[in-house]
Structure formats: structure tokens, C-alpha cells
Symmetry: D2
Subunit: 320 residues, 4 copies
Amino acid sequence: MHVWGASGYAAAEALRLLQRHPFVELGALESRSHAGKTAGDHFPLLRTSGLRFDGPGSVLAAARDGDVAIVAGGHGEALEVVPQLLNAGVRVIDLSADYRSDASAAYGLSEFEGGAIAAAQLVANPGCYPTASLLALLPLASLDARPLQIVIDAKSGITGAGRNPSLGALYAEVSGDVRAYGLDGHRHQAEIERRLRAYGMEADVTFTPHVVPLARGMLACVYAIFATPPAPGAVDDALAARYEASPFVRVLVKDRKPSVAAVPGTNDAELRVDVRGCVVRAICALDNLGKGAAGQAVQNLNIMLGFPQESGFDDRAVVA
Amino acid sequence: MHVWGASGYAAAEALRLLQRHPFVELGALESRSHAGKTAGDHFPLLRTSGLRFDGPGSVLAAARDGDVAIVAGGHGEALEVVPQLLNAGVRVIDLSADYRSDASAAYGLSEFEGGAIAAAQLVANPGCYPTASLLALLPLASLDARPLQIVIDAKSGITGAGRNPSLGALYAEVSGDVRAYGLDGHRHQAEIERRLRAYGMEADVTFTPHVVPLARGMLACVYAIFATPPAPGAVDDALAARYEASPFVRVLVKDRKPSVAAVPGTNDAELRVDVRGCVVRAICALDNLGKGAAGQAVQNLNIMLGFPQESGFDDRAVVA
Amino acid sequence: MHVWGASGYAAAEALRLLQRHPFVELGALESRSHAGKTAGDHFPLLRTSGLRFDGPGSVLAAARDGDVAIVAGGHGEALEVVPQLLNAGVRVIDLSADYRSDASAAYGLSEFEGGAIAAAQLVANPGCYPTASLLALLPLASLDARPLQIVIDAKSGITGAGRNPSLGALYAEVSGDVRAYGLDGHRHQAEIERRLRAYGMEADVTFTPHVVPLARGMLACVYAIFATPPAPGAVDDALAARYEASPFVRVLVKDRKPSVAAVPGTNDAELRVDVRGCVVRAICALDNLGKGAAGQAVQNLNIMLGFPQESGFDDRAVVA
Amino acid sequence: MHVWGASGYAAAEALRLLQRHPFVELGALESRSHAGKTAGDHFPLLRTSGLRFDGPGSVLAAARDGDVAIVAGGHGEALEVVPQLLNAGVRVIDLSADYRSDASAAYGLSEFEGGAIAAAQLVANPGCYPTASLLALLPLASLDARPLQIVIDAKSGITGAGRNPSLGALYAEVSGDVRAYGLDGHRHQAEIERRLRAYGMEADVTFTPHVVPLARGMLACVYAIFATPPAPGAVDDALAARYEASPFVRVLVKDRKPSVAAVPGTNDAELRVDVRGCVVRAICALDNLGKGAAGQAVQNLNIMLGFPQESGFDDRAVVA
């Protein structure tokens, strides 16, 4: 088990999970920027991990045929390294957007693509916005009707913007503010629409991502507008059928509410759905670095290697 | 100019504005809980105000016929005190929800009800959610078509919950969390629907209020879904026509985004509207204690007394 | 293993740790206010725990001779329940301040009182401020000289104030503020001075506790002022000697800095000490709910029952 | 009145104050990075200012003999531009550290150097840490005795680190953390010691700056350790004598506490001093961008031009 690219929040979270994984041994941890340095110096939550970053080329040098590597580079970098790894027989879970529309990759939405993931050489791990949105929407594909319009209003913690310093991610800019962004077409919107189509849900999507003063976490409110009111029972049944066997997706009863505070550090998603006339409202809470990135990557790793899906997730983490 | 009830955040904000108002002199500041105490001890931002709270009955005792009083009690308290004040000839701006559906009160949405407000004995000041939602939606009433469905997804700072200590408003419960609430029918939803009807906009409304880790501020995203695509030009024209003379509502061009950080301490609202097929998306940012409460109350005071609307708002406040 | 009192943050953290403890089985979880309710409804981080609170009297009814109970009531409540438990042969770890100056209780500062804790019927778990301060100061007791003056300047997350709603703990009061409190004598100051005396360190203590905008965590800066400069080597040696065998206290080299972000959800303390002329400056970071409360309680439980000290702490938690 | 350098938080705060200053007209606003752009696009709190940045050389071109310019460049840049401005007869208030130890500049601690400031061609505006520390310490210079040791433990909002994106200033790194820094000698320590010497207070200084999760604000706790106990009355008298005429420095009575929440957006400092045996503890709260930077710069401008010191500060700002 190797990790390529280790300067970001998602990579650090993957390392945090993998160091305790009962069936996985960490191999090469390749990082151009941090080569030779200890993980604990760069990430407080890896302080006691004892991990140290390796230099360029270390994953290719260390990987054997059949090994799995998580690639956690910036968007664009994967286009270079992933083919090299595949050629060397390494199975890849790529956290970037580079292969999410590529037919040669399995789309790593674990609850819906388990079979393809298990067999894949390359898994394109979904983004945090698509994961939250699709977990809420895809069960509706089993209803008789299709929504006319879909509105996705999602609120994200700032770690979703990565760890490269930028003005918009500064404490003094995020604190005290709530703002929508990407209003003229966010990369994730196309990813969501593509997957909806793959499940037979052609619909106009209006997608509004927001940054809120939060380090970790995501809450997505999805509104599916139908021509005629769906039966609440049918919607509840669709949800239950899809997730009753899932160890990670919790469908909440109506008097509970999804809460970002319930999921940090976990691979969990909380989901609450109600039907109000022609509108199905589905609210999904998850950790953008957990189920929205590194957590789902480890879940996919478990699927690829035949481990129980919960492996490496047996603890409950802490909200600071 | 008197203030009844002074233990909450909105009352403190009203006092902060009124103490600098060029045409207003503060009279009685009635507070049961803080009688005899200085405002600076209870509200850091009133530290240097020199204001002191008066005891029960002081507004009635001090008010003369034609005076204006802002009533800032908890919901329910106004039902008792407002009739007494009206009987004494005092004109009232009530911040509570008690009179918002009462035909004897003018609804204090300043940009739409200026005439009624100017003549009113009693102004029911709108809530923060209705203010943000209606500023975004009501200009659409001049379009040829009516929306089929309206989705309102609003994010509020926690001062909206008031200053009475409650578990859900504790720092350790708000920090690190984003959560929807009031999913089975928030009081503000009925207020919004009632006003929409008053302007000829019958539509199903799905309203989802959220608490985000923010002391002050509100961002409301409103999605109006039409049967056929409205002309973007018609929507822009409707907005411009409604707000071009407003000193407080800024309609932003498309490459700007409403930001909560641009409005704290002001009576401003930032508004950005785009049309995506059949969906009109309108995003409104305001200060829940400013335009969403005390700011609009002072604006209404200016309207009632014939002062320029901007009176008392000539400064730019600070985001901490 | 029982828990008495379960409405606060420290109790919830204890349950989070205990449910995964490899050698401990949870028995009665007594709570007056939450009896019959699930822990997951009250504490997001216990969402998936499956724990449910029991009613009054349940710990006494369930406990057998030799069992251990953590008592997590408010200050004052322990005076009533602890004697009953001790009479029933139950060994008690009390999180309150009630027994911290009581000669019949072992003082639960694990790294210094291990022998007494192992043999104790009653352990008075230290407060978070004393834990951070004493971990920094007590190693200096082995120096030849005694400090003339000790200054403790400590910054705490707001969970230290408990979960009972109070004005000063509201999000809108903590956010955007930093404030000192307890300036005329904080309860913890006497606790610190008492323990210093017990180790032969009579000194005037000036203690300034602060609340900072943080849910969890504590950073204490301790300044010990001597008449003549201590040898840096002697101070470093004293620290190393005291903590080299400790699994939880990390003495950092000089180019690293203790960070609250490195410890949430753990029982760890980070410590950095330097000598500047006559002044020894020691900085200690810990989680006020971890090593400062529930973590140390579980560590003491391990000591009392002869388990390895690290039992139940094998994971790395998450900073939200 | 001109401003050179306008990309940072302090420059924006200066513009916010100056645009409302009753006796000042804004001239050239020189900015290399933002030339031609509007201030409102870069700083939310200047949204409605209507200000626009000018290009390189604009201050020199616009300034006339006797004009005042605030120079708000990064540390080092002032060494280049300030001599050019002085040569052109422009009086300069420099916010950087470049001239703070230069004998040709007046040190801009307004309450102590008013005479020199009034006559100066060049004012070196103090840093936020020195301002808070010296306001607390310098009144003690009038006591009979000198402290043996001075400990300064100061907590700063992250805007003190400037607006250039850096890893340590990211929201996800500041939120949930409290950390000390500059432990091996912060630039501000030398500035503090130099000024103490200038007032006859030779003492060993131990200075520990911290970053806390706060955008704006500073709380400095200063501990002056004497050989024998100073008389509390003498200390109180020294404070009162120094600040009773100051419109900005508030000496609080003992049962009040300085609070960062009481000062954002103002030029105020709150100060509380007590004597505990040989230790004088002085706590000072101010806005690091206000009295700690731009506020004091405007106060100095008022002094230089003979305006009342309060000019431009007549409002009360808002804590978000």
C-alpha cells in the first residue's frame, strides 16, 4: 500500500486512517515537497505516526505487481503518474478529478459501484460535493418518475480548497463569512450530471457550492422537483433498500437531523429525506476529507482487496 | 425615541445605531432584567455608550403622544406591551413575530411597504429569514409568469437564536457544525408565504434554515422554478427597477458574489440573481441583526418620521 | 466499569474512550437528566455508540465490590454520591473538584502519583489547568533551587466551562473574543499551589486563566522565575528523567512548538521548555477533555486495574 | 492625505477610517498589485467606499509639500519609498518595522510621544505587540522601583500576520489551534526592550507571542516582577495619571475585565492592572489593526496636523 503525493489534507487523512488499518502495511510515501521530512512536522494529527516522506520515484520503485497506490496529487498531476503506475501493474485509487470522466476507470462511489471497484485497476475517487449529492439523489432513480429539476445547495469546510495557501482560504477571509462560489459552473457540477445520467436521471441541475467557516465537513441539501408528488413511502423504501446494508450511510428518522458534528474523522454519511408535495428534500452530512475523499478511498481499497468494508474505521473520532 | 426590552442582540444593535443617529434622542430604555445597569457591562460593543437601562414601566411613563418606541421583547411579550403603548399614542416598531400577520400592523419590509410604514401606528418588523428571502423573490412578481416552486436554502449566524442561553447556541455546539433545523415547518416559512401571496406569488415554498458557525450574518439562496425559462433580461430589469433607488440593496453584477463579510453592522443587502433555464437563482447576503432586525427597524423609524432613509447609517462597520 | 453523571462534555469523552477500551465493559451509565435516552441523541460524537443512559440509582444497583466508577457530576454533587459508592466497595475516579484537597483521595496526576493511584479507593482527577501547569512545573522540583515566583498564563477551550448553557459560553460571546477571567482567585489556583507545596515547591503563584475561541484544547505557558539562572542542561535533564518513560507526555526539541491541534481526542501532552536567564519558560499543550479530564481518568483507570497505561488510547483522533 | 501600499489588512483599515475622517481628504492610493482596481473588490468592508487604487509613483506625483502619507508596505519596502517621500517634503507615518529603531523617526506611541509626533517628518508607527505591552508597562516607569523581570504573554488575531497567503494563516491551520511562536526571539521583543530602556526601565523581558483563532484583536498579559511589593495605590495612581486625559485608553476598575470584543474597529485600549505581592499584572486589550496599527496611525495623523485626537473615530464598530 503506497501513497503518491502527500502535501494535502486528504493525503494526511488517508495516512491517519491507513497507519491503523489492520490489514494494510504502508510502503512508499512519495512527496516531492516534503521528501525526507516526518509527517508529524507537517500535520499535527500525524504527530505520533512516526511516518516519513520518501522522495520522487519511490512509489514506482517500491511497488510490486498487484499493490495498490493512492494517488493524492493536485488535479492534473495524476495524468502523468497514474499511467506509469498502471503500466507497472499497480492498482490505483486516484483522488483527483483527472479520471472521473474516463471510461477506463471505475467511479469510486462505493455504495453504487462496488462491483466495478472490486475489479478495477484504476478507481477515480469522487469529489466531496458529488459524493454527498449522489448519495442523496441516486436512490431516487428507482422511483417511477424522474425529477424535472434538481437543486443542490451545498456547504463545505475550507479544507476542500486544499492546503496550498490562497487568499480565499485564509482564516481572516473565511471567519465571519459565508459565500457561494463557482456560480458559473463548478467542475463538480459536470461530474454530478454525468453520474446522474449514468443512472438514468437526466435532469437540469442547479448547483450552488458554498464555503462556510468550518475546517472539515460538508452539508448538502438536495431538492428534487417532480411533476407530481412522489409517494413518501416510495421514497423511504428506495432509501432503505439502497442503504440498509451499508455500514457507513445512516438514513435518519424524521425527527433527527444530519449534523456535520456527527461525522468528522469518519467514513460516515448521515441522510435525511422528506417529501413535501412535488419536492423531495434530501440532506446529507459527511466529512469532506472522510467519505468525501480519504475515507471513501480506504473503503474502496477494502473493496478492491476483499477486506470487510469497515476495516480501518473501527474508531470514533473527535470534533475539536 | 424609546426602546422596550433590551436584553438581546437585536436590542443592543438598535442602541448602537440609535446613539449615533443624528436626528434621534434616546429616551427610556426599559429592561426588566438589566434595570439600573449600564449597557456597557452587558454588551461589549456598547462599552463606551454611557447608556443605562431603566426599570419596568419607564417607556410608558416617559413616552409622549407621537413618540416612537422600538419593542424588542421575546416573541409573545409584545402582545402585552404593544397595545398599552398604542393606547398611549406611542407609535411602535415591534421586532417580534407577534404582529407580523396582523392586519392592523404595517409589515416593515422597508423597500416594499414604505407608504404603509410612513403612516403606521404599528410596524411589524420582518424576521431576518423573510427579509432576505423576500428581497430576493418579490421583484419577480413583476414577471409575466409565476414560479411553480420556490426553494429557500438559508444560512444564519447564531445571534438569530437570541441571547438567552441554550444548549444549541453554545460555542462548543455551533463551532465545527453546520446543521439544518425547523424542517417540519419553521415559523418564518408561514411569514414568507403570506407575504408572497400578498404580492400575487402563490407558490409552494420549501424552506430550509441552517445554523452555521457565524455570530452575525445571513446568506439566503432562493431558487424559483418556472414552467418555462424567464428571459434573463426581464429578471435583471425587474431587479434594477425595484432597487435602483434603494440606498441599501445592492444588485451585484454577475462576476461578483454576495458576501456576509461585506455587510455586518450595516443595513445593506447584497443581491445577485442569475437565470439558468427554468430556474431563477437569487442569492442575498445581509446582517441578521442589521437589515434582518435592528437596521431595518431604524430604517423604518426614518420612514415613519420623515428622515432620509440613510440617517444613522453613515459609517462602515467592522468584521472581527 | 460504570459512569455516574453523563450530561457533560467530559462524561461524553469518557464514554467515547471507554466504549473502545479493550479490557473494559461498560455497565451502568447513570444520568438524571437523560435517563432512558440514547447517548447519540445528545452527543454527536456518540452517534453510533448504541449507548443508552440509565436512571437514578443504577450505578449503585449494578456495581459489584471492586468495580470502578467514574463520577462526572457537577462540582458539589460528588460529595453525596462518592461516599455511597465507596461504602458499597466501589472504587471511584471523581472528575469534580470535591475531593482534590481531601487526604483520603489519591490525586490523579498519573505521571506523578502512579503508586497512590494504583492502590486508591478514591482518585480525585485533577482539573485541566492544574494538569497542564503541574506537568510543566513539577519536574523543576528536582533542581537545586526553588523559583521565587511562578506565573501561569493559560488559554482554555470553552468546553472547560461545561455543557450547562450560560451566557459566557454562547457562540456569539466566545467567537471574536479573548478574555481573562477568575482574576481574583480561580479555584484552580489553590489546587495548583497545594500540589506544588506537596512537592516542595513553595512559591508565589500568579495564575491567569483565559477563554479563547476554541471548543477543545488548552495551552498553558508557565514562567518560573529563579534568583539565579538555572543551567539549561539541568532543566532539560529534569524533564527527560521525568517523562522519558511516559507514553503520553512528549518533551519537544527546541525548534518544535506545542500545538493544541496536535492533541485533541488524545491523552497526550506536548511540552517545550527553555531557559532564558533566570526564567524557565515551559509551554504545555493538551486536550482539556483528554489529558485534562476524561483521558487522564481512563489512564488512572488503567493504573488502578493494572492494565497497560495506553489501553484504550491506540487511535489518533481528528481535529475538525 | 495619501496612502502608499494598499494590499494588506492594516491599509484597508486605514482607508476605512480615513474615508470618514471629517478633516481629511484622500489623495493618491498607490498599490502595485491592485492598481486600477476598486477597493471594494478586494476588501469586503470597503465595498461601498467607491475608492480605487492608483498605480506606481502616484503618491509622489500627487503629494505636495507638507502633505502626510501613510506608508503601509511590507517590512523592507519602506526603506526605499520613505526617503523619496521625505525628500519631496511629504511627512510620513510608516506602519512597517523599518524605522522603529531609527533615531530620525518619532516613535508613534501616541500617548507617550505626542510632542515628538507633532513635530515629526517621519513617524514610525509601533507594532501591535509593542503597543499593547508598552501601554501596560510604561506607566510603571514612574514608580520608585524597577521590575527585575518582565514577562509578556500576548495573544493575537491572525490578521497580524498580514494578507499574503501563508500556510500558517490558513483557516484550517488557525481554527482549532492555539500556538506560541517566535520563541527564539520575535522582532517585537527588541522593539519593546528598546522602548523600555528609553523610559528607564532596564529589565529582562521574556516575550511569548501566540496566535489564537481570531481574525482581529489582541490581548496582552504583562507581568512585572519586583523585588519588593509595590503599593497598589501607587500603581493605580501611576495608571490614572498617565491615562486620565486619554480619549482611547480606558483603565478598568477591578471587577471588569479587558475584552477583545469591546474594541474591534476602534482605536481603544482597555487596561486592567492589579498588584499581587511582588507582581504587577497588567492586561491590555486592543484591536491589532486599530490601536495596534491603522487606528494609531490616524491618531498620529491627527496629532501631526493639529486635529483633535478623536477625529475620525466617533463611531462604534461591530464585532461579527
